[in-house]
């Protein structure tokens, strides 16, 4: 695939992520903040998000395995997850967190477990998508091109 096709592919791929609500406006804000002085800012923040998310998902699983569930603790984790996902513009993850918090409030174990599954699913989807996008960007850079806006 030549450079132009790669760039075209990236633009289309990015557009689809917005179109399917994987990403929202906040992600473009992050891209706008990236410049020559901080060329890896987006990858850096997204990597932080991946690390943070994995930690939170583990904590959530542990908390929901307890014989007596501390819903406040579960809610605190989901709350944090909602904050970090909204900060990078991971809209579907954020929405999954909102639903999760409702079940926490109701102290509904069944609901929480389902939400955790949903959250895991949405997170893994956006992770894959973002990683693919970064790979496309890397290929373009390696071919000597620049990332289209």
């Amino acid at each position: 695939m030549d450079l132009f096709q790669l760039q075209r592919r990236l633009v289309d791929y990015r557009a689809s992520l917005y179109h399917e609500d994987f990403l929202d406006e906040q992600f473009s804000q992050l891209q706008d903040l990236q410049d020559e002085n901080n060329p890896d800012f987006v990858v850096e923040v997204v990597t932080l998000f991946f690390e943070d998310s994995e930690r939170l998902l583990n904590e959530l699983a542990k908390a929901l395995e307890q014989p007596i569930i501390d819903f406040k603790r579960v809610d605190a984790h989901v709350h944090q997850f909602k904050g970090s996902s909204s900060s990078i513009g991971a809209q579907r993850v954020q929405k999954a967190c909102i639903a999760f918090r409702n079940y926490c409030e109701e102290q509904n174990v069944e609901g929480c477990l389902k939400c955790l599954q949903q959250l895991r699913h949405e997170y893994s989807l956006v992770k894959t998508k973002l990683e693919s996008m970064f790979q496309l960007e890397q290929q373009i850079l390696s071919a000597g091109g620049s990332i289209p806006m």
Binding site: V45, Q80, K82
Partner: protein, 170 residues
């Protein structure tokens, strides 16, 4: 803008309607700068901001980095801490800041407690509360504790500009 006399920062000096300022009402020129004019304006803003000291208080590493970068992009090198206690400790050792971005929900000491303590120390610096959700009761609780403004995270460049414009007119 002083937060009023008295160290406790009473809620009667707060302006709850400020919470409702939406991006619709705030369109700083920065948004509308066209390509050719960008550089000179950007340098002016960075020049103006470089003497401002800002403290970012948030337990989430993603949010910390995003807010830090947002400030960096307009020439501000923020000091970043992880919870309310770390923030209060800085004031205890005598540091001061023009602006504090205070997350509400944090372990060890949350934003409401930290704000109360900081105001209790007689500090009148601008404190902007940053909340997870857009719920009025949360914002009111934060306002009562002594924040000057309350916004939902993540902060946007427009919101930051609004805050800095207000700070510069202090």
């Amino acid at each position: 803008m002083e937060t009023g006399d008295g160290a406790s920062g009473s809620s009667s000096n707060k302006r709850p309607e400020e919470d409702e300022i939406t991006e619709k009402n705030r369109k700083p020129e920065e948004d509308e700068i066209i390509e050719e004019n960008w550089k000179p304006e950007e340098e002016e803003i960075i020049e103006k901001n470089k003497n401002l000291s800002v403290l970012v208080v948030d337990d989430d590493p993603v949010v910390r980095r995003v807010h830090d970068m947002l400030l960096q992009s307009i020439g501000i090198k923020a000091h970043v801490v992880e919870n309310g206690k770390e923030a209060v400790d800085l004031f205890c050792i005598g540091l001061s800041y023009d602006l504090i971005l205070m997350d509400k929900d944090m372990p060890v000491m949350n934003g409401i407690e930290a704000t109360k303590e900081i105001r209790g120390m007689g500090i009148h610096s601008m404190i902007v509360g940053v909340t997870e959700s857009d719920v009025d009761s949360e914002k009111r609780e934060f306002a009562t504790a002594g924040v000057d403004y309350c916004f939902q995270k993540p902060l946007t460049p427009e919101r930051i500009n609004f805050i800095l414009n207000d700070l510069n007119n202090f």
